[in-house]
Symmetry: C2
C-alpha cells in the first residue's frame, strides 16, 4: 500500500479534525446523524454512507446518504424512499458481523464475497437500480468499549470519480471518525436523558396537587402539550417552545398554599374566600422566585400571570393586553381550554366544538385574539392531545 | 520551515485524534482541564502548559502543568504552590492579547519581547526559579466564535530535551486541540447547568410544602446536604452520593396529601390522625412512582422508607435493619437530626451536642448503627452545613 504524501495526509486529517470538532458541538440528534454520514462520505471520497444504531440485539438503520441516487432522484425523493429496518446482530449480515465481532469489514466487491459467514443483501440495489461495489463497514465503539452502532461506506471513488476500493488509510480515518461519532452520540443521548429527567420531575411534582384539588395528573400534562403546540404554531423560537412546555405545568403550584377549606370547597366561594384563592398566583410566583434557571423564571411568570385577562379584568394585577406576559397569555388559553373540555366537580365536560366556540367568543375579552386565532387553526392537533391524554370517567 | 515527514505528521495527528476523542468523552470539569494541559504538552513536546478560562472581562488562571518543576518539587508540592489569579483581557498581557484579538501569539524568547503592546510577567519564573523562553499562546474559540479561554504552552523541547521554538506545525496542532477543548468545555458546562437546573427544580418544589407545614425551605436543603455528606463519608459511589443528594429533598412530598386539620394541628395527634399522617410516606411513593428516571426511583424509595426504624417499629411497613433501603436509613438520620437541631412549633431547637447524643442513643434502635458511627465521625462537616443554612429566628 502506498503511503500518502505528508501534505495529503495532513490536509485530510486537518479536515477530519474540523469535522470532529463539529461533531462534538452538535447537540441535536437528527443533525448529528446527518453530519456523521455526510462527513464520512466527504472525508473518504465515497459515494454513499449509512449509519446503524444499536438497540439491544439489533442494529437499527437510521440514516443514509447516496450521492448518485440523490443526484438522480433529488434528495427529498431519495429520502422518502428510505424505509426504517433493523438487522439482527449476528455474523450473517455485514453490518451485523461488524457489530458482533467489533471488527472492521473492508470488502472490494460485495457481489463477490466468498467463504465468509456474511452475505450481501441486494434488496436496496435492486429497488434503486444501484450497484454497490466496494464497502467499508466499521463498528462505532464507545469509551466503555461497547459497540453502539455501525458506520458503512459504499463505493470509494477516485479523484476522477471512478470506482475504487477502500485502503488501509480509509480504515484508519473512518475509525477515528467513528470513535468521535460514538462519543458524540452518547453525549447527545446523555443530554436528552437529563432533559427528560428534568421534565419528568417537573411533571410529577406539579401533578402532586391532584392529591388536594379536584384535577387529575393529566391536567398539567395536557396544559404543557397545548402550550407547546400553541407556541410552536404561533411561530416562536424552538427555545421558547421548549421552555413554555416545561414551565406551564407549574402554573398552579401555588395552590399548595391555599387552605383545604377553600381549595376543596365543593360549592361557590364567598368573595372573601375567592380573594384567598386568587393568592395561588402570588404564592406560585414566590415558590418559583429567585432562580437563575431560565425555565423557573418563565414558570414564575406563568404562575403569576395565567389568570390575567386581555381586557384587564383578571388577577392578581389586572394587567391588560400585551402587558400580560406572552407565557401567561398562552397558558391561560391552554388552562381554560382544558378546564372546559374536561369534567370538574362543578360542571360536566363540554364537547370540543362547544369549548372552541367559548374560547372564540372570549377572544379579545379574556384571551389574546391573535393567539386564539392560532389555537383555532390547529384544532386537529389540539384534539389529538385531548384524546391521547383523556381523563378516565 | 521544514515540512514534517508524512509518517511523523500522521503519527502526531493520530495521537491528536485520540486525545480529541478523550476530550469529548470527559464529563468531569476537573478531569477535563487536566486532560487539556496534559495533552497539550504531550502533543507539542513542551515543558509546560497553562489554561485560562474567560470570566466576563477577565481570564481566570485555572490549571497548569510543568514537567521541570514537577520533577524538582514533586507534583503535589508544585500544585500546592500554584495560586489562583485573574488577568484583565487587554493587549497588555500575552494571554490577554490572545483573548482580546483572537490571535495566536508565538514568541521565541519571552525575555526578549520588543515593540509589542504586551510584556511578559516574570513573577512566576522568579518565585519558582524557572526560565520561560519560547511560548505559544492560543485563544480557545467556541462554535459561536467567542473566546472562552486561552491555552499557553511554554518551552518547546527537541527530542533530546533541548529548548527550541514553536513551529507553524505546533500552532496548527494546538489550534485543533484548542478548538476541541473549547467545545468540550462548553459541553461540560452545559451539562452541569442542566444538572443544576434539575436540582433547583427539585429543591424548590420539595420546599413548596413550607407553605402548609411548619418547616422552612431550608429543611429540605439541609437534609439534602446531610445525606450527601453521610453517603460520601460512608464510602458509597459518586453516582449514589449525587442521587441521594437529589432524591432526599423529596422525602416529605407526600405531605401534600395530608389534610390541613392534621398537618397543621398545633397539638398532639390522636391515634386515628396519626394513622392518616403516616400515609404521607405512601402518598409520596405514589407521586414519585412509575418513573424510568433513576433519581425519581430513589426518591420514591426515600419517601416510602424514611420513617422505618432499625428495630422494626417504624412505618409504613415495619421493615427491620438492612431490609430498610439504604437511602431510607440515610435520610432518616438526616431528617431527625434536622428536626432536633432546629425549632419546631412543638419544641425548641436542641444544641448540636445534645442532638448528636440523642442520635447516638438511638443507634441500633431507630438508626443503622454503622451509619450513625459515620455520621458522628463527620460532626464538623455537619456543623458547617447547619451553620451555613440556619433558619432565621
Amino acid at each position: 500500500m502506498k503511503q500518502k504524501s505528508g501534505y495529503k495526509a495532513r490536509k485530510d486529517l486537518t479536515e477530519l479534525i474540523q469535522v470532529m470538532t463539529s461533531l462534538t458541538s452538535e447537540h441535536n440528534l437528527e443533525k448529528l446523524l446527518k453530519l456523521i454520514v455526510k462527513s464520512a462520505v466527504d472525508i473518504t471520497d465515497s459515494d454513499a454512507a449509512s449509519l446503524y444504531l444499536r438497540e439491544k440485539d439489533f442494529l437499527k438503520f437510521v440514516i443514509t446518504t447516496n450521492k448518485t441516487l440523490e443526484a438522480r432522484m433529488g434528495r427529498e425523493v431519495f429520502e422518502s424512499t428510505i424505509k426504517a429496518f433493523s438487522v439482527l446482530i449476528s455474523k450473517k449480515s455485514i453490518s451485523g458481523f461488524a457489530a458482533h465481532t467489533g471488527k472492521i469489514v473492508n470488502i472490494k466487491d460485495v457481489y463477490k464475497i466468498k467463504e465468509k459467514p456474511y452475505s450481501f443483501n441486494k434488496t436496496f440495489d435492486e429497488i434503486n437500480q444501484y450497484r454497490s461495489k466496494s464497502m467499508l463497514t466499521i463498528p462505532l465503539v464507545n469509551r466503555e468499549g461497547n459497540v453502539v452502532g455501525v458506520l458503512q461506506l459504499i463505493n470509494k471513488l477516485t479523484k476522477k470519480g471512478k470506482l475504487t476500493t477502500f485502503k488501509k488509510y480509509d480504515e484508519e480515518v473512518t475509525i477515528s471518525l467513528g470513535a468521535q461519532a460514538a462519543v458524540a452520540l452518547e453525549n447527545v443521548k446523555l443530554q436528552e436523558n437529563l432533559l427528560k429527567s428534568h421534565y419528568d420531575s417537573i411533571m410529577r411534582l406539579s401533578a402532586a396537587n391532584e392529591f388536594r384539588d379536584n384535577e387529575t395528573g393529566f391536567h398539567v400534562q395536557r396544559v404543557s402539550y397545548y402550550c407547546e403546540l400553541l407556541a410552536k404554531a404561533a411561530g416562536y423560537s424552538e427555545d421558547f417552545v421548549k421552555s413554555i412546555k416545561y414551565a406551564s405545568p407549574l402554573h398552579d403550584v401555588g395552590k399548595i398554599g391555599i387552605p383545604d377549606k377553600i381549595l376543596k370547597k365543593p360549592g361557590r366561594l364567598t368573595e372573601e374566600e375567592y380573594e384567598i384563592m386568587k393568592q395561588h398566583t402570588v404564592i406560585g410566583g414566590k415558590i418559583l422566585s429567585n432562580s437563575d434557571n431560565d425555565i423557573m423564571l418563565l414558570a414564575q411568570e406563568v404562575a403569576l400571570s395565567h389568570h390575567e385577562k386581555w381586557d384587564g379584568t383578571g388577577y392578581p394585577y389586572g394587567l391588560k393586553t400585551e402587558n400580560i406576559p406572552l407565557s401567561g397569555r398562552i397558558t391561560a388559553i391552554a388552562d381554560v381550554f382544558d378546564a372546559l373540555s374536561n369534567k370538574r366537580v362543578y360542571k360536566p365536560a363540554f364537547p370540543l366544538d362547544k369549548t372552541f366556540s367559548i374560547l372564540e367568543e372570549e377572544s379579545g375579552i379574556h384571551f389574546d385574539p391573535k393567539l386564539i386565532e392560532v389555537f383555532l387553526s390547529v384544532k386537529d392537533d389540539v384534539e389529538d392531545i385531548y384524546k391521547r391524554l383523556k381523563d378516565e370517567d
